[in-house]
Symmetry: C2
């Protein structure tokens, strides 16, 4: 709250959520909440967890999709509903947890067609079954826009949960499960009107319409017991690095940016910066994690067993800096991913 004092008149200007941004808002929110004692995962992580009292924990996540602000043109109700599942199970995957159940709460206008509601339902069902869980209930409401709020939950051994603050140390390797930037390219096309080659267009739109969560990869990583920090990259790679810095207390040196090959091609044709496309995207569901160098072969084997190639992109650093190391230069990486409220990119 800002005060402007002008003699006897005090004008109070209340900031809006767009003025402070999503993360500052969450910091304010936390001050008003009583933490549950003995939470297996502290606040500021991808998901919440409750101890079941027998060594197991319930891990749960909730995420909302709002049609007007979150769903790009051309996406079908089926795809939007499936994506709502992906968003939610991705956070469980990042904690190493198999989703058990999904519950959607939907709001639709009263003139929305029953057929479109059923397309949403088929998307929930398809997404849930794809990630090995069931739709176990939900809620329907009237709203002026299509709103999908989802809840995913699973049960796991409390000790196996991969936290953001899981013991990352300087010298640990920073890694990801896939390449970045295709969603940025797709949004550049959809929102900015830039034309794409057929190959790039297909890959970019598929990354937006039919994203995949890294659930089996997260479970495989958790089983190694070697991961020292983990989160998903749904708000963009650079935001993930800033979030991991908040939780681990350390910065990162990235020397192998995970840019998708098609992103290089697109960036060159259009005179754009491929690194910016890769770091500052969002709506990507790769895992970003750290592990001690001695565990590299274990980590690589665990991921390979589920069909995923380990991509090491850098190191946890002793400082708080988050930088890109190009030859001998250290270039700061700005936090430029997706913020629901400021929508800076």
């Amino acid at each position: 709250m800002f005060y402007t004092l002008d003699d006897s008149i005090r004008v109070i200007v209340m900031p809006s959520v767009s003025e402070i941004g999503e993360r500052a808002l969450i910091q304010q929110i936390m001050k008003h909440l009583t933490p549950m004692p003995d939470m297996p995962i502290p606040f500021w992580d991808d998901a919440s967890a409750l101890s079941l009292g027998d060594g197991r924990a319930l891990v749960i996540n909730t995420d909302m999709l709002v049609w007007e602000t979150d769903i790009p043109a051309g996406m079908t109700p089926f795809q939007a509903a499936r994506k709502a599942v992906v968003m939610n199970v991705s956070d469980l995957g990042a904690k190493g947890v198999q989703p058990m159940a999904f519950m959607p709460s939907i709001g639709v206008p009263s003139d929305y067609s029953v057929d479109d509601v059923l397309e949403l339902v088929k998307g929930f069902e398809a997404g849930a079954r794809e990630y090995g869980c069931y739709v176990v209930g939900g809620d329907t409401n009237e709203a002026y826009d299509v709103i999908i709020s989802g809840v995913a939950l699973g049960i796991t051994d409390e000790k196996s949960i991969m936290k953001r603050a899981g013991g990352a140390q300087p010298g640990h390797i920073l890694a990801v499960t896939g390449a970045f930037g295709l969603t940025s390219v797709g949004f550049t096309h959809l929102l900015g009107g830039l034309e794409l080659s057929n190959e790039v267009k297909k890959a970019a739109l598929e990354s937006i319409h039919l994203p995949n969560a890294r659930v089996k990869e997260g479970i495989a990583l958790a089983e190694t017991g070697a991961v020292t920090s983990s989160m998903d990259s749904s708000d963009g790679l650079s935001v993930s690095l800033y979030d991991l810095r908040r939780s681990t207390g350390f910065g990162f040196i990235v020397d192998n940016p995970p840019v998708h090959p098609l992103v290089y091609e697109f960036a060159e044709t259009n005179g754009l910066d491929p690194l910016s496309l890769a770091f500052n995207g969002g709506e990507e569901y790769e895992l970003v994690f750290t592990y001690p160098p001695s565990e590299e072969s274990n980590i690589k084997a665990a991921l390979r067993a589920v069909g995923c190639e380990l991509i090491n992109i850098g190191l946890v650093s002793e400082t708080k800096e988050i930088v890109y190391k190009q030859n001998d230069n250290l270039i700061p990486i700005q936090q430029g991913g997706w913020d629901h409220f400021t929508a800076s990119t």
Copy 2:
């Protein structure tokens, strides 16, 4: 879907959700979902449940509040957020389950003030603490309207869950935990402009702005082990009776309608039907349940121990009829509560 065939032209008219209503929509939805094996609570109940494999079940519920359609004028963000907690924990209470955690997912416009978000948060915190649970996480999003989607969950012995289909038999007593109709009176005032006496106005607006969930009452009832059917009355008393008929297979004879005394006063002054106000309201969070006559003293004592008076309102009948017995007349009770989509009252 309706087909009109006109020679070679086939016109397909897709019904909207308002044309078929919420319950018919849910019936359609179910056809597209694979039920989870061994769910402790089947579909069509107040909440969902997952077996924890050791005799315990996780009971979980999700409900959404949309500002424009669900929040009456004069209600504050704090009250709306607290109500979102009440709506969700009420469903757990109806199953006899102590809420353990609450997670809100909110959508707000980007120009919404941080102060108002924090008022929402204080409402979540107050509501959660009031019902003995904690806010353990959540999600913030941009939306064109204020949307609150909540999740409440708790853990209980699987056998103690009070289901809608819990074994009600003809001759069992139909009972409620409180009187009905105050919210109807309040909405008549807020939406219809009818003036109220100060006493009625205070009680009616409080019933809307600061509703109470019957959680401790539900837990007390579950502990008797004598309840044969139970649900909350959030969509109105008559809708609850129709929902219980679907689940139990039996109808009801109501001979003691639970009309709030102030509702009689208001109805008389304004020439309205007090029974209609009491049966066809909504946003009321009493429990509607059945039990065998032999258990009456147990049930009464259990409720009294938590400060609630048992109100017997009728009997489970052998037929499928849902009727009000006035002297020797049987008058059908119509299903006239709240439907999100048709909004018939």
